[in-house]
Amino acid sequence: MSRQDYEVIIGLEVHSELSTKTKIFCSCPTKFGAAPNTQICPICMAMPGTLPVLNEKVVEYAVKAGLATNCEISQNSKNDRKNYFYPDLPKAYQISQYDKPLCEHGYIEIETKEGKKKIRLTRIHIEEDAGKLNHDELGGGSLVDLNRAGVPLIEIVSEPDLRSAEEVEAYLRKLKSILEYIEVSDCKMQEGSYRADVNVSVRKKGDTKLGTRTEMKNMNSFRSIVRAIEYEVDRQIDILEDGGKIEQETLRWDDVSGKTFSMRDKEDAQDYRYFPDPDLVAIKLSDEYIENIKNTLPEMPESRKERYLKEYKLSEKDAKLITSSKYLSDLFEKAIEVCNNPKAVNNWIISDISRILNEKELEASDIPFSSKDLGKLVILIDKGTISSSIGKKVLEELFENPKDPEEIIKEKGWIQISDEGAIKEIVLKILEANPQSVADYKAGKEKALGFLVGQAMKETKGKANPQMLNKMFKEEMQ
């Protein structure tokens, strides 16, 4: 049998950090990147006698995520303890939700080669993040940083509806853009605020029973996830083809070798001994509360896309790319408010900005300049203050050292030469130095004009106004 005879089944557990200002059970800040153990208090350090108090914003954000993914919201929910020992888990239990999650039975739609496909969500529940172990920082041993302990998370569990690495990527991107749109998570993958546990199994086509699955935990890059799934699918099929059996186990994906490795021995099969947390009262939500949150849901990517097609006449492809990220989409809309030139803003985002993000391996949310800066850049080109080739240089500069584009061109001396006298002077100089081109042009070779303009641009380091050059060369050679 061949690879084609197998069906791939993938289910995901996505963990997304909620962007609340404070932690889920205490009032410590959640800001990323602070010095170790500077954002902690007796509660998130699990000092004896401390008690958790549930941050209401966390419930609100999770309900919002549930509503945005077509979930049913449970009006009666609770927190449970998941017990296990690890040094990054100071209470020796994680407060999570077991049998009564906040949100259940949702779905999101992804686009596949075969068209739209619904991916069902089993549930979304709230829980606290653990701390972090820093290994070998002070010569041997491990140090515990509890800054992240108690940062709120939602766990979004999908049904095993995904059938390929491509579908997984589409699902993850879609889910990420939804969470960004409703502004409950910044989904910064490098910071670990959007990460996935990937469950993969294969079965022969036509089989109704699911195959044994393996799990890869805490994956936080699209590229690794795609590679890891492709590797894991091949590995499993190879084993089955050789008459072997898949072990249900947790695997670690190694990006360097491009392989998965077994992580835990079976002796450690965990029994988490879930039970309701007696320190926290049940979560009861009224219809009115849920309705109020529903009313705060913003415009979602699809409807924005439709609007862009109609209002700004963008192409399907461009509109899709821009609305895939709330940051790009907001950048687009707000820059238009400044410059009133949707076409130009669209072009900048689709071509140069996307290219630079790719080159620098940045996410849209990392764009360092403001929509106002982009709008101003477009205005400067539209007014002829700079040429579009200088514009590209300004954009590069905005990524490196963001400030008002006007200031950038002033500092760099990139203002376009549009003074007639100055342009004439350059034109005459170039004409004098290139008699052959003049003769060619007069003989009907239009191309010669382009060469002359190019020479003039070179002479002025790109600052001369190209339209004026064109016009003046023509006039002088008549």
């Binding site: 000092m47 006698g49 008690l51 040094p87 100071p90 209470k91 029994d271 039970f275 007696p278």
Partner: protein, 488 residues
């Protein structure tokens, strides 16, 4: 005048009349501790020097004419599972032998605000697990009425310190009887408030759904006053309840004519000591003479409560005590090869046998495959117990039972028989299971001169009814005048 013999309300009077100064009071207690502690062994961390210093600071403020708060300068003792900033909070465990809390429990904040003076942290069964204070890692506290007997537990240090007059009053904690049973054994008053009336923030958790902090005092009025000091909603404890503030001393003097007292016959059956039963029957007669109506009824909870209690309490404890893992502020084994060994050895060496027994029990009942048969079932029984009590309170204002089936037993006589030790809780645990308030007051002594406790149980948040009934009884028998501990 023998200062340490006085109750807190008497001390207040004398302070008001300037018969006594704050410093005199503290110094008298410090002297008493110096005399009696070597035999009673109630303190884990005495704070006598700090207490004298604090009393002098307060006194000098008073001498300058500053106004005195109602409780300013009154000394107190604190059970060693209530967190006190900058002072060791050991839970009488090797695990926390050197743990200094970085924060004050909410009840301590309340006491500090009133400028009470902490005389020290009091001994207990390790992590409040036990009924004799023999399971303390540090020392065995003795019963002031007979030094060969246990003081009860787990708040044995608190009860013995009040009984031997080393502190005028103390805070204890009660998960299954840990305030009421030692109060009964030591001939003092102990009150477990309704679950949710007092903040648990800063009480090192044993069983979160059962634990409450409460007063151990010389008389009922002092209990009402200390309850006044510690109640109130706390935003740091979501299980604490928002209610209008009550002055619990106001109800005391009310006549109890017509008060309906229910006596559940199941609490007087097999296993109840004959002398205990006799004294309780006598107490009922006294209530009748006070005009109360006494009626026997059936409260079918005692039998199931003990099993339910040990399942729920141990389950919660197994999780609550996970944080004592050898990683941060706890004892850590000196030698280990890997992480697993840090956990295994630190916890094996840091916890005593009884704590380990309960962690193992609790881990078992929560394990997959057993959860439904034990923990879930226990929660269902818990609901039934609440319903049974509710039925009782439809007919009665107060329910009267013994606090413990026996008087204080000999040191060492039960410490190797956990089941027998657990049976000592049979009269008290159902009150925690149902989240009700219960008070233990002395109602006499047995032929050996050991005090016998009577428990009055009230409906939720009806502390006033049991305080009132207890006060009227206490006034009638005048226990403190008529019976004195050996240790006087």
């Amino acid at each position: 005048m023998n200062i340490t013999e006085l109750t807190v309300h008497e001390l207040q009077e004398k302070l008001k009349n300037k018969e006594l100064t704050v410093t005199e009071i503290t110094k008298a207690y410090v002297k008493r501790i110096e005399e009696k502690e070597k035999n009673v062994q109630a303190f884990v961390t005495p704070l006598t020097e700090q207490a004298i210093k604090k009393s002098e600071e307060i006194q000098s403020k008073l001498d300058k004419g500053e106004k005195l708060g109602e409780f300013t300068g009154i000394p107190i003792g604190i059970k060693d599972n209530i967190c006190t900033k900058g002072i060791k909070t050991t839970c009488s465990s090797k695990m926390l032998e050197n743990f200094v809390s970085p924060y004050d429990a909410t009840v301590i904040e309340k006491l500090n605000k009133e400028e009470l003076i902490n005389l020290g942290k009091l001994n207990m069964d390790e992590f409040a697990m036990g009924g004799s204070t023999e399971y303390s890692y540090f020392k065995k506290t003795r019963n002031p009425w007979n030094l060969n007997k246990v003081p009860g537990g787990s708040s044995g240090g608190s009860a013995a310190a009040v009984s031997s007059e080393m502190v005028p009053w103390a805070l204890g904690s009660d998960t299954g009887g840990s305030i009421r049973q030692p109060a009964s054994f030591c001939g003092v008053v102990g009150l477990k408030p309704t679950y949710g009336l007092v903040s648990r923030y800063g009480l090192v958790a044993f069983a979160s759904s059962l634990d409450q902090i409460g007063p151990i005092t010389k008389d009922v009025r002092d209990s009402a006053m200390l309850l006044n000091l510690i109640t109130g909603h706390d935003s740091k404890d979501t299980t604490s309840v928002e209610r209008e503030k009550i002055d619990y001393t106001k109800c005391l003097e009310k006549e109890i004519k017509g008060l309906k007292i229910g006596v559940p016959k199941e609490f007087f059956g097999e296993g109840i000591n004959k002398e205990v039963k006799e004294k309780l029957e006598k107490a009922m007669q006294i209530y009748k003479t006070l005009g109360a109506e006494i009626e026997e009824f059936s409260l079918d909870v005692a039998e199931y409560s003990l099993a339910t209690y040990y399942i729920i309490a141990c389950a919660e404890a197994s999780s609550n005590l996970g944080r004592f893992d050898g990683i941060r502020y706890t004892y850590r084994t000196p030698e280990y090869k890997n992480l697993k060994e840090i956990y295994k050895k630190s916890r094996s060496e840091g916890f005593g046998a009884e704590v380990k027994r309960r962690i193992i029990l609790g881990t078992y009942v929560l394990s997959s495959g057993y959860y439904d048969a034990y923990y879930k079932k226990a929660q269902q029984v818990r609901t039934l117990v609440m319903k049974e009590f509710n039925k009782g309170f439809e007919k009665y204002d107060v329910i009267l039972t013994p606090t413990s089936p026996t008087v204080a037993f000999d040191i060492g006589s039960k410490s190797n028989n956990p089941l027998e030790m657990y049976l000592a809780d049979i009269c008290t645990v159902s009150v925690n299971i149902a989240g009700l308030p219960g008070i233990s007051i002395p109602c006499g002594v047995d032929s050996q001169g050991m005090p016998i406790g009577m428990q009055l149980i009230g409906n939720k948040f009806e502390e006033e009814k049991i305080l009132n009934a207890a006060y009227q009884f206490e006034k009638t028998i005048n226990f403190r005048e008529n019976y004195k501990p050996q240790y006087k």
